[in-house]
């Protein structure tokens, strides 16, 4: 095809104009409530999750202040119970999952070369439901009735007889509510990753971060129903005198533990797998070479996701199950360490084989590897049943779970903030403050949680609100509290750094780190339509191996497709990513917001036993669903 230079330039300008007209969301309240742009939604997930991170952090500082020395009375037992329960619930459900989904929302479409998620309105709905569920759960503090039986909320303690008030109802209703959000989000991720990859992004070229989000989404689809079900059964027991957990009437409290951990153990990996993916996304850029063992890492991620469903009983080694059961679960718990370690060795090999550039993103990844390996080693110790039984319910467990979860979620998230923040805001974060933040967080974290291993071995049980003098625990607890505050200061430094850099940071440009995946093909922050042309991918590291990928505008000669004929994106086949169809994407809509608002009222109605209102909101929700799907203009999928 022969074209002269002149008309081509004009063509490009008109392409951009047409895309702008098609994809821009006009300012105003309707657009603010109705946006379906995955980048705006991703940022909202991120900011909301970080706000809850601060809330959960303040809760943990109050807890650590209460425990700083023996016989303190800062909180009292009831306040302590509410705060440690809400700390766990917040960090798992309102911080880690939303922020990791937020990065997924923002970067999965960019990394696979799509213009949006497969279900943009479901995406918006997932965010609004998350926000509503967060508001719902935190409203419990206003009446002084926050959930107070811990994040795994064992019956019979959490039954009507032992915890009468509405504390536990907040927990059960809130978690059902959150389940709607994460299940919808997970289905969206799966379909997006299967059907929306740029042409040429065959299965073996999918970025590992995207694999991590896919593994997380698959786990959510099959693990969340257990949490939803167990919460429904608890509400039925508490509010309607059913007997699922009532041993006197043929029920069994252990049913709670089984169902909860069928969800709860995969939940650990739901939080960890995207973190692993972040590490695998960041390391190659900062050591200037492709990741070592791509295939093994992907198989490792998927195996962890699968084996993660077979180890729930290792939370129950002391409840008196038959030895044969314990044996199998112990074996599975040892086995799950193998695919996790394969990933660690692949990261280490990449680091050794490349030329590491020790800037903040890589520092946080190294911190993650260090902390996660310690948490992983204590995890393997738990797989040994006698050891588990000896330290069960002690601070050793608290130390372990914080090493695993802070290691695999918080440090990768902070690595991602420094690595991807410039893409999201268009500005670089300050490098010096980034390093300060890292060292404060790294030292603070280890100071806070390493002594807790020892406290556990000395016999300090978890979840006690105070302890006596003279047990030899004082110095370790004080160190732990000091470490917690140091960690908090480190986190604060990054928050301030982010806030200042948003306006004052150096402009980032499209590709400040010379990254290897397609998010660096877009501008910073990306245009509404992400890319001028949807690229054709010919390599696993397209930005390194395809020099024509610049400014989001691979030319049609090189396989870039502008797709200016409507509000459309390209759908491809599942394995070999051949172009299959042009998909018309939905426009902004306030119905997802209205539906989530109706569900929020429903949650309060159930909480307060107002069944007439509950029925009314169910009807309103069906109405909102009809509004959502009401045909207007040109709808593609009918």
């Amino acid at each position: 095809m022969t074209t002269t230079a002149g008309p081509e330039v004009t063509a490009t300008v008109s392409t951009v104009e047409r895309l702008e007209a098609m994809w821009e969301e006009p300012p105003g309240l309707g657009s603010w409530l109705g946006t379906v742009d995955h980048k705006r939604i991703g940022l909202r997930y991120f900011y909301t999750g970080m706000a809850f991170f601060v809330a959960g952090g303040v809760e943990s500082l109050l807890i650590r202040t209460q425990l700083a020395g023996p016989d303190l009375d800062v909180l009292g037992p009831e306040g302590f119970n509410q705060l440690f329960s809400m700390h766990g619930i917040t960090m798992m459900f309102l911080f880690a999952m939303p922020v990791l989904s937020g990065f997924g929302n923002y970067f999965v479409p960019l990394m696979i070369g799509a213009r949006d998620m497969a279900f943009p309105r479901l995406n918006a709905f997932g965010y609004w439901v998350l926000l509503a569920a967060g508001i719902f759960l935190y409203s419990s503090f206003l009446v002084g009735r926050a959930p107070n039986d811990g994040w795994f909320n064992y019956v019979p303690l959490s039954g009507e007889a032992f915890t009468p008030g509405i504390n536990i109802d907040y927990y059960a209703v809130g978690l059902i509510f959150l389940g709607i959000s994460s299940t919808g989000g997970a289905i969206n991720f799966i379909v997006t990753i299967l059907k929306l990859r740029a042409p040429g992004m065959i299965v073996s070229r999918i970025p590992i971060f995207v694999w991590g989000e896919l593994a997380m989404a698959l786990q959510i689809v099959f693990a969340l129903p257990a949490l939803t079900l167990v919460s429904v059964l608890l509400i039925l027991d508490r509010k309607f005198d059913f007997h699922f957990f009532d041993a006197d009437a043929g029920g069994d409290p252990l049913l709670w533990q089984h169902l909860f951990w069928v969800f709860g153990h995969p939940e650990v990996y739901i939080v960890a797998l995207p973190g692993f993916g972040i590490a695998s996304a960041i390391i190659p850029t900062w050591v200037r070479r492709p990741i070592v063992g791509y295939t093994y890492i992907v198989i490792g991620e998927l195996s962890v996701a699968l084996i993660g469903f077979g180890v729930w009983v290792h939370h129950m080694f002391t409840v008196g199950l038959p030895n044969i059961t314990l044996g199998f679960i112990s074996l599975a718990s040892f086995v799950v360490a193998i695919p996790s370690s394969i990933q660690v060795f692949a990261w280490l090999a990449t680091l050794v084989a490349g030329r590491p550039v020790l800037r903040t993103p890589l520092l946080f990844v190294l911190g993650f590897i260090f902390i996660f390996v310690i948490g992983g080693v204590t995890g393997v110790m738990f797989a040994a049943i006698p050891f588990d039984q000896a330290v069960h319910d002690s601070y050793f467990v608290v130390a372990h779970l914080h090493y695993v979860l802070v290691g695999s979620a918080v440090f990768p998230i902070f690595a991602a903030i420094y690595h991807w923040g410039p893409k999201m805001t268009g500005r670089l974060l300050d490098e010096r403050w980034g390093k300060v933040s890292f060292w404060l967080m790294f030292v603070g974290f280890n100071l806070a949680f390493f002594p807790q291993h020892l406290l556990g071995l000395f016999g300090m049980p978890r979840r006690i609100y105070t302890y006596d003098k003279g047990l030899g625990w004082d110095a370790y607890n004080l160190a732990s509290t000091l470490g917690a505050f140091m960690l908090a200061v480190g986190i604060l430094v990054t928050i301030v750094n982010w806030y200042r850099s948003r306006t004052r940071g150096a402009p980032a440009g499209n590709d400040p780190w010379r990254g290897e995946t397609l998010e660096w093909y877009a501008s910073s922050p990306p245009a509404h339509y992400n890319f001028v042309t949807i690229p054709t991918v010919r390599a696993r590291e397209p930005m390194w191996d395809q020099p024509e990928l610049v400014d989001g505008a691979q030319s049609p000669e090189d396989g870039g497709r502008p797709l200016t004929d409507g509000h459309v994106t390209l759908s491809t086949s599942m394995l070999d990513a051949r172009p299959q169809a042009i998909v018309h994407m939905p426009h902004a809509s306030v119905w997802p917001f209205l539906l989530s608002a109706a569900l929020l009222v429903l949650a309060f109605a159930v909480l307060l036993d107002n069944w007439a209102l509950a029925v009314a909101t169910v009807v309103a929700s069906v109405g909102a669903l009809m509004g959502w799907y009401w045909p207007r203009g040109r709808t593609q999928e009918t």
Partner: protein, 211 residues
Amino acid sequence: MTTVHDPVLGETGLPGELLPQRYGGPRAFGWWGMVWLIGTEATLFALLIASYFYLRFRNGPTWPPDGIATPGLVLPLIMTAILWSSSIPVHMAHVGIRAGDVGRLKAGLAAGFVLGAVFLVMTVAVEWPEKLDEFGPTTNAYGSLFFTITGFHGAHVLAGLLFSLWTQARAWQGAFDESRHLTVENFTMYWHFVDVVWAFVLATIYLSPSL
């Protein structure tokens, strides 16, 4: 169940490349959305049924406990016949619209709706009152399981009926033809799923106590 829809082609911007803009079956996002929704819902039912057997085997040899009679099979089997037969007209409706026959679509959906509604009414108005004379959900764990599992399934039938009403309304508006009927495909899939789940509910609640 691949559906070949008539392609309405659109330009991608690559010289000479035209791709379909209308499609159904596994090419459509919505189809996949329904597949995964069914996946997560099926997990929910699997866990409910696992809970049933867990509590049953923790209860000892007498099941149902506390002198509750083993459930009779006549009524549930009649209900089963009614529910399962509803899948036939629904399938015919789907086949009909694939051939562009809106009349068969409307008739099939309506017949499926009636059979599903009869099943639901029989559950709530005949089967439950009969059981409630003997035991209720608050009698013991067996009662809780019985009413929760049949209630969960009934709620899914109700959701299916609402989905059917929506699909029928859209059919009467003339929204579907042989090349655009993803809603019909998704409704069909969901309805068959609810029928398949009933096989497990029937086997668990009604057949297993007799074993």
